[in-house]
């Protein structure tokens, strides 16, 4: 099954810009490949990624087949308050995965 890796600081100063890196195991099958018998392999990709910070959306991405397998997304946010960041990936064939991380802001 899909597995995700998150990388972000556990602690930050108020107002500091922190970098968040996310990586998820997914083949991102493009839908343009064929098997040796010539049959097309159906598309199976992650189409959407959303990051929320204490419930407020801070980053969203719409992915297309041109994103490499095991999608990596690295972005930034301002550490405003202690709380939870939630990461949600969704895609073809009902794919959905949610991960979360906590951050302490001083």
């Amino acid at each position: 099954m899909a597995r995700a890796v998150l990388s972000l600081p556990a602690k930050a100063r108020h107002g500091e810009v922190i970098e968040i890196k996310t990586l998820i195991a997914h083949a991102m099958e493009t839908g343009f490949r064929r098997t040796q018998l010539g049959e097309p392999i159906p598309r199976d990709i992650i189409t959407r990624f959303v990051c929320t910070y204490n419930g407020d959306e801070i980053f969203r991405a719409e992915l297309h087949p041109a994103i490499a397998a095991n999608p990596l997304l690295a972005f930034t946010t301002v550490a405003t308050e202690s709380g939870t960041l939630e990461f949600k990936w969704s895609g073809d064939r009902g794919f959905s995965l949610t991960e979360s991380a906590t951050i302490a802001v001083e």
Binding site: R33, A61, F75, V78
Partner: protein, 155 residues
């Protein structure tokens, strides 16, 4: 008599070549025109000016299957002046769209990294939509040695 090694190799070579051609011919490819269409769908009729955006891609890519890409936009990222969205499009991938990223003032910095697939030697374009309604872009030519799509045609 069975097939000799030489005959087999010639046949196999021909077959592989034929299959590769079939894959090339069947795969609909984006063109600079379809890229323009895709851009219009994303940004409407707005004028896109070059500048403020920086698209970082290696100029020479050995393997198009996973190419590190970073987009940076010059912006103070305040509530009144920030980047709303960044779109990345290509000329010669099977589909023009690569990724659309939506940020806001809470991003702090307009800088996003990911890894993309590139099918051919081509120009990659990043377009940023700012909160004041202006659009800025950067285009980078890249040389791709091993294409992301054709090599995968046979598995």
């Amino acid at each position: 008599m069975g097939t000799t090694r030489r005959e087999f190799l010639v046949l196999a070579g021909g077959l592989a070549g034929g299959l590769a051609l079939a894959v090339t011919a069947e795969d609909a490819c984006a063109t600079p025109e379809t890229m323009q269409e895709a851009i219009r769908k994303l940004v409407g009729n707005a004028t896109i000016r070059p500048g403020r955006v920086r698209l970082d891609l290696p100029p020479l890519i050995d393997n198009g299957n996973a190419v590190p890409m970073t987009v940076t936009v010059e912006s103070p990222m305040t509530a009144t002046d920030h980047v709303k969205a960044i779109h990345v499009v290509t000329e010669k991938n099977p589909l023009p769209n690569v990724v659309s990223l939506y940020l806001g003032p809470r991003a702090g910095r307009a800088r996003v990294s990911t890894r993309v697939r590139l099918a051919d030697t081509q120009t990659v374009t990043a377009i940023a939509e700012l909160s004041d309604g202006t659009f800025w872009s950067d285009s980078v030519p890249v040389v791709v040695v091993l294409s992301a799509c054709l090599e995968e045609g046979l598995i």
